[in-house]
Symmetry: C2
């Protein structure tokens, strides 16, 4: 009997509505596969910030450093500056725990209407590997002549060889493990002339070590166009923090809804806990109504099981999602249905 200690950060908005459904599905699959979870629930959120001035306690991360994983809902709320909510919680967790891989599957399921014409399930099925610890997201920068007509604002992007190589390595290995052996790199070396040519150089250097992998690279502008016009071209796509972020909202949108998209923030060395969260945010516009799609959270739970070594249990959840969608099971409004978050969560828990 496997037993895991999971830090649960439901966070804000619909995060608090979808996380219980994620837990429900994990409990259900746990009963079948003899896996026990201890859920260590944390109230780290914008709510907490309003009361205490901090998104999480000062010793928060030490407190969960020994946990097996982190299961997160969504963070952010109107009136709380993003750089407070996100740089006070989400981004420190990704960095302190060296979750330098953000893995995001993109898949068109049977039974789901894609905004793209004439795309069938199976046509779209790829993985985005996003760099998650450095790059365009940095605290380095600031303002000169703040508040005057001469104001100048500077932001540094910082790419290290270590940081670039490790995400590329992960992406090449992932491509190696899949049938198509095809890896695409997102770049913009024609416009961003220091960091992106460096990214390309490292990509090409590593490609030489993987002669059986077919590689290509596209500038991010035309790559977004290809995501819409030729989503069937892709198998594994690797990108920087910003480019991976963009592609992993665009990809799921092209497959129907961001509401089902999961993500894994991985520390591949397993020296620190990894974190699993849906791609969607806290969605203030629909929060509190119980209508959010829980599938992104539940699928993130499957990615967590996979990471913990329970591939079969993970597979059971994904199969349940496939069946629910293909068989016309209950679905939330973003997928054209009328079901509540809870109804979808219960139906999925029954199917696992």
């Amino acid at each position: 009997m496997a037993e895991y200690n999971i830090a649960v950060i439901a966070g804000d908005g619909i995060g608090t509505e979808v996380v219980p459904e994620g837990i429900r599905a994990l409990e259900a699959v746990g009963r079948k596969f003899d896996i026990t979870f201890r859920w260590d629930e944390k109230d780290w959120s914008c709510e907490r910030w309003k009361k205490t001035g901090r998104m999480m306690p000062e010793d928060a991360l030490e407190g969960i450093a020994g946990h097996d994983a982190i299961f997160l809902g969504a963070v952010g709320w109107p009136g709380v500056p993003d750089h407070v909510s996100l740089w006070g919680l989400l981004i420190p967790i990704r960095r302190v725990f060296r979750q330098y891989i953000n893995l995001r599957p993109v898949r068109l399921f049977e039974g789901v209407r894609s905004p793209l014409a004439d795309r069938k399930p199976g046509d779209i099925d790829f993985m985005i590997v996003r760099e998650n610890n450095e790059g365009e997201y940095s605290e380095i920068g600031g303002r000169l002549n703040a508040g005057t007509a001469e104001e100048v604002v500077v932001q540094e992007s910082i790419f290290t060889r270590k940081g670039v190589d490790r995400v590329l390595r992960y992406a090449f290995d992932l491509a190696q493990s899949r049938g198509k052996k095809h890896l695409t790199s997102a770049t913009k070396s024609n416009g961003i002339i220091h960091t992106m040519p460096f990214w390309d150089e490292r990509f090409q250097a590593m490609a030489a070590e993987y002669p059986d992998i077919r590689t290509d690279q596209y500038h991010i502008d035309i790559l977004t166009a290809h995501f819409v016009q030729h989503p069937d071209w892709f198998d594994v796509v690797v990108g920087s923090n910003l480019f991976g972020d963009i592609l992993s909202d665009l990809g799921p949108a092209a497959t129907g809804t961001i509401g089902i998209a999961p993500s894994a923030n991985l520390n591949p060395e397993r020296e620190h806990p990894s974190m699993f969260e849906p791609v969607h945010g806290s969605a203030p516009d629909i929060a509190g109504q119980g209508i959010a799609n829980p599938i992104g959270q539940i699928w993130s739970g499957a990615m967590m099981l996979d990471h913990l070594g329970h591939a079969n249990a993970a597979r059971a959840i994904v199969t349940a999602i496939e069946r629910l969608l293909a068989d016309g099971g209950p679905r939330t409004r973003d997928m054209g249905g009328t079901a509540s978050t809870r109804e979808v969560g219960m139906a999925l828990a029954d199917l696992v």
Copy 2:
């Protein structure tokens, strides 16, 4: 009788194939509207770089500073590093001539198959206003410990109040002049915490001056998703150099093909010549075959006429494009046809 002195830079690849068709259409419309062009053709290109080590002569820009406009095809070729070809030609022109607005219409025409399901002509019809002189595209940055395991590469994004305000001003004024009075700003202030919150601040400050314009803003990740799921939401979209670049490939892709998308690099004060070029690049994969779509170049010619004060002549070209597409006229391969570049160009010249 109006007479204009136009610098023509066909550039590389399909640039040399579509520019003559752009000229053909402009000549045709000129005959009708009594406009004469003097075409001052320049061989500035990667070809030239290979021979002379420079994309253009040292005094190139002084030589065309007094011209009425620049009509450009495409720049870039395999084997010539992008930062040579683009930073040796395209980007200096945009900057030296203070073309700080890059204006890019996105429109779904009748008779064009969009990759988006269920979208009709009229559903998609908006303008992208891209900042074109600063931001994420900068020469500032470099490498530490180059070539070693400790390599660190830094790239600066630089936003000035002057640079941000003038592009926002242009976008607000453009939105003001259109029926819907709706302006959307692309941001990423949750991840890029110096420049993007500044961009948002300036956007909000200026919005207060335009009380009758409805404004909204989206992070670039979800904005790309909305371009696919809700392209009908947009009227004018303003973004930084990088975000505008991405959106203006994605938008045209969603409307069927990048081959028809035009752009205007504008110096609104008319102190320097503005430049008109299609959104597509030199397309080495199809260059030399005479099959490139000339419509992006021709429509760019219409934007040039508009800028020169000939709104009716510009309208005549756009109407010809509308008719060609709606009536099943010849079309190139990217639009599902078999016509050559020249056939499409001749058909359009006949229609204007």
